[in-house]
Amino acid sequence: SQQGEEDPQALSIQEGENATMNCSYKTSINNLQWYRQNSGRGLVHLILIRSNEREKHSGRLRVTLDTSKKSSSLLITASRAADTASYFCATVPYSGGYQKVTFGIGTKLQVIP
């Protein structure tokens, strides 16, 4: 079963606009990560936020985490056509031993030039 669920499943915006994707999860986490997948390629890690962090930035990416609501959001500012991709959240649970990374279904982002 999927731990994270992204919302929306698809998003279409104009170049220059901001894109916001949300992720909800069910169990307590050690950290939450966001990955990008370009069409026909493997996933690429974007950013990791730990359970004791509330916000993190990396370039045009801003990630927030609300552990009380078990949710996270990924904001891409000033989007570019090259940002067109699918975006996945992945959760790493709080548990002893091996911590399994579980992926959501993803948000498909289209940035129109």
Partner: protein, 116 residues
Amino acid sequence: NAGVTQTPKFRVLKTGQSMTLLCAQDMNHEYMYWYRQDPGMGLRLIHYSVGEGTTAKGEVPDGYNVSRLKKQNFLLGLESAAPSQTSVYFCASSLRQGAYGANVLTFGAGSRLTVL
């Protein structure tokens, strides 16, 4: 560095045939994983390994076997392929849990398998 390399990239099988997908990483990562990706299902973990000589089942292990004889290689085998195993398969690797960046996965480019 090549990162994570998967072979083959594409393969068509007939029902009942067997095959092996090979994953190789050159980053000295302890952990390796095999996922499958299907439309509307996201990525689902098939099997994983936390070190050389060890393997464990993930979410959807039935119909697959794995081996990790060398630290850098993780093999995924289909003994008797079924149409339900038509999918894109991704291998990934990560550092040992507890190390800086632990559980940040590096993915291969994927292997597209079609079972007729």
